[in-house]
């Protein structure tokens, strides 16, 4: 279970050191960090089953989405050079790396008359 890593990434993304001294993190940036946090927890769901830290994080994320009026749909990363994907999101959005290479595939075709 890698929930501590999700927690650490979220804290790092929302900590004041990320912003300029007088700058308050924008809501939009906060929502991006929260979505990334949510994605991270979902990714660990299987291995974290029964882990109290994990379940409290999931519960807290739900509350934070409501408190900050964040939509669950939207970007999960920002301030990156184009073409530089977030490794966490990249893994989530790549079925083969997420599920391993032993998965079975099926084929369907429709052609001719």
């Amino acid at each position: 279970c890698r929930i501590q890593r999700c927690n650490a990434d979220y804290v790092a993304a929302t900590s004041p050191s990320h912003a300029l001294p007088e700058e308050t993190p924008l809501d939009v940036d906060y929502c991006i960090a929260l979505r990334a946090y949510s994605v991270c927890t979902r990714k660990t769901a299987k291995s974290c089953r029964g882990d109290l830290v994990y379940h409290s994080a999931v519960f807290r994320i739900k509350e934070l989405f409501t408190q900050h009026n964040c939509s669950s749909d939207g970007p999960t990363s920002s301030a990156k050079a184009p073409g530089t994907p977030d490794p966490l999101v990249s893994e989530l959005c790549n079925y083969e790396s997420r599920s391993g290479f032993q998965k079975k595939f099926a084929h369907c075709g429709l052609f001719g008359d």
Binding site: R35, S38, V39, R42, S72, D73, G74, P75, T76, S77, P82, G83, T84, P85, D86, V89, S90, L92, C93, N94, Y95, E96, S99, K103, K104, F105, A106, H107, C108, G109, L110, F111, G112, D113
Partner: protein
Amino acid sequence: PHLRTFKDEFQTCKVEGAWPLIDNQYLSVQVTNVPVVLGSSATATSKITLIFKSYQGCTEQKVYQATTEDLPLAFSDGTRTGGWQEGASSLRILEKPDAGQVEIQADYIGSTVIIRQVGRYLTFAIRVPEETLNLSEESAGLQLCLHGCPKNELIQEHRLSLGSSSPLWPSSRRAYTVEMATEQCRHILQVEDVYFQSCVFDLLTTGDPEFSMAAYGALEDLKALYPSRLKLQTVSKTINVATGAPGPG
């Protein structure tokens, strides 16, 4: 059209009008088939609509639609990618070097789609992870790729009596004889398997020489998407298309 299902069943169906090929939580695919020759029950695909459903963190919902008039290199909203990761999108339309062919890669669901235009009609091929399908679930609704065509939509005739007269290809209107069609398909396809039979069927039904490329394209798609399935293509009970009798296989 000829259908190869996820369970590797091979069928030829009427299915005139709009029919769902796939409908699950990730993807919906619907095709529209129209009659190819007046007086024949054979139809071919004139429209394909794909809906890639929203997948949180990876892509918003995207719709792709191809018709016989237009095989676009973009989704309906004009974009060629889904999701928010510029340059590394997990849903994208690829431009293929061959004209008349589009490939859509949906990495987040491990799926790839190839759509071709052959003559006036369209072909469809997809590779998906088995775990995204409910292969054993009987109540998953009508999905031709999953359950095949309904029995009353099946055309069995071409497998049973290619050599005899058939309402599918009345002799008065035939552009091809069985021998001519067989010869042309032999030039294109190396193995006399179900794809070969489909090629002969298509030529006899339409009289359109371009149609012989539909089976060839389908085989190319299978090679590209799922090379390990190629060994299953050769059916053990090959029909001798010239005589209608079972072959030595």
